[in-house]
Structures are given as C-alpha cells and as structure tokens.
Amino acid sequence: MQNQRKTRATPTEAPDEALLVAFANGDNEAAQILLHRLAPRLYAYAVRVLNDRAEAEDVVQETLIRLWKIAPDWRQGEARVFTWVYKVAANLCTDRLRKMRPQVEIGNIAAPADTIADVVALLTETQRSKALQSALDSLPDRQRQATVLRHIDELSNPEIAAIMDLSVEAVESLTARGKRALKTSLMGRKKELGYTDD
C-alpha cells in the first residue's frame, strides 16, 4: 500500500537532496527521478573502473539500495547526495577490485548506432573509447578511479577528495600520474587509431 502514497507531482528539476527527502516522505516518483539522474552516471563510472558490466550493475544497485534505506535519516545540508553515492560506489568498486585482481580482459563496450553512416562515423571514436578503457585498466586502482572522476565525469578535485577520502593534493597527484600513464599507454596506438600530429 505504501506505493500508493504519492502525494503530489515532483518537479524534475528539484535538487537531489529535495528528491530524497520527498521519497522519505512517501513520494516514490521523486526516487524515480533521482534514479534516472544518478544510475547512468554511476553505472558508467563503475564500468570504467571495474571493466565488468555485471559487477558494475551490482555496485550501482547496492549503492542505490543504500541510498533508499538511508533516506528517512538523511539530514539536509550535511552532505550532497551526488557526493554520497559516488563515495559509496567508489568504496564498493575498491572492494571488488581487491577480489577481482588480476584481470586483463577488456569489456565489450557497444556504441549505439542506427545506420551504416552512423557506424562508419562512430567507428574511430568507438575504437578510441575502447582504447581508453584498455589504457585505464592498466592503471593502478586508485589512479584509475581518480582519473575517471576527474577527466571523464569531470568532477572537481575537492569533490574527488571527498569521494575518495583523500586530500586535494593527493587527488592532484593521482590524476597527474594517471594522465601521464594514459599518455604512455595510448600514444603508442595513436596512428593505429587514426590520429595524426597536425
């Protein structure tokens, strides 16, 4: 019966924290909005870090279940939902990486395409995306997590520091080293992937 406790339409542009509080007050629609806002980003992050779609699904599901459970006790102003879920996901990824290592198989990341022209147009970029994943997978775990958060998810260094329980300086160091390692790994494949130096 609790599913029927919707009270009113929730504005889709409401902040994450307001949506979570609305969910705690019985508005499941608010949680649906939050889900579609957070899940794709968390999933992409987890796949890039774990390079395993099944494991990434587990991480996202576990993270969101924890979020739903903590909703009644959520205190607005103390933390951002976005940072909180990334932190939980990052910790869950770290736990899994400890169990998974060593693994080298590259995941199959499919790109959506509707026409032949799209396939041709996407081919090189898809290859780039795969090469990036391959290079990311060669990085040490913490370096990979920080690099993905910084250069793909485009989070700020203070946000990454909060998520990974590090100082901002440590994050800067991790991402700089990660970037250097990626360059080394990718530059060898530059021409193979269609890049020129012009």
């Binding site: 499941n28 899940a39 794709p40 999933y43 992409a44 890039r48 898809t126 780039r128 995306s129 990626l182």
Partner: protein, 120 residues
Amino acid sequence: MTDRKKSDDRALDQFFNAGKNHPPEPSAAFLARLSDDISANAPKERKQTQPIQSEPFGWFLRIFATVSLSGSAALGVWIGFLSPDLLTDPTLLLAPDTTIAFADFLPAANLSDTDGVPLP
C-alpha cells in the same frame, strides 16, 4: 611546452571526449530492476506506539479498587450522619464499656427493644 607535448595532450583529450561521448549505458532491464528496488525499499509508515499491555484481571482490580474506595467513602458519611457523637468524641470508640451494635447504624430498627415481638 613542446609541440609534441601539446599534440599528446590534444590527443589524450580526444580519448577522454570519446569516453564521454560513448559512456557505457545501463540496459532497460537493469533500470527496471533498480526501479523495483525503490518500491521494495520505500520507507515504512512510522509505527504507532503500542498501548501498554494490561496485566491479567487488571479490569477486575480496577473495578474492585473503585468500588472499595467509593464504598468506604459512603460508609464513612453514613456513620458520621447517624452517630455524630462518635466523631465529636472519638474516645467513646476506645472506652472499654462502650459497645457499638450494628443496630446503632440502622435508625429504623431498635432491635434491643423488640425482644422478638413485632413492632406495632
């Protein structure tokens, strides 16, 4: 910064852009599963405070206490009304030669004078 380094940075940015443009996307089935989790983990209604369990025969004890209290009060008023001298001089109750008969509290019945003969 050398030209080579700039070129490498640009290329690396292109890799990052490729990664942003082609994020791994969750399947519809997975999103549906996550959606189901919302209902399953929706906060429950707050439980109402349970009334304190009454002890066995509590109802009898409560009635007994009420009747006893009000009965004692009524008896006290009755005694005071019929024998005010007992209240004004309580030593009468303690005097050895004082006897208080039940009849003292029943004004309509002078039992000591009837000697078994019905009253006229």
